[in-house]
Chain length 72, copies 2
């Protein structure tokens, strides 16, 4: 399957959230991003910006680079 940044990001986001033992609700609260935004982003339905990447990374206590690791 061809590499796709949205797919790579969303798969890593879910993995990192589960590793951090946070629910989407908790991630939404700590990232100050709406619950639907978090859910849509995790399902690869949003083309988010770098600043949103940074908010999610800080809320999960990881570096932004972690979202761009190969997933296959």
């Amino acid at each position: 399957m061809e590499k796709n940044i949205i797919r790579t990001f969303s798969k890593n986001m879910k993995r990192l959230r589960v590793d951090a033992k946070l629910t989407q609700e908790e991630l939404s609260f700590s990232s100050e991003l709406h619950r639907n935004y978090i859910s849509d982003t995790e399902r690869g339905k949003r083309n988010i910006s770098l600043k949103s990447v940074e908010k999610i990374a800080k809320a999960l206590n990881v570096e932004p680079i972690e979202f761009f690791r190969d997933i296959d």
Copy 2:
């Protein structure tokens, strides 16, 4: 200096563009992004989206992860 994703991205973008021996004009053409958009992004003046990151990465023939390497 506190880490900042926009700063990290823009510094890496310039480094990768110079490494690829492309001018901003050439990168603009190959990424299908406007010349001012490329220039503003490289100066850290834009909060770009993942799909734009992907366009720039493809135009520079690098993986998106390269833009998020530590710069300090």
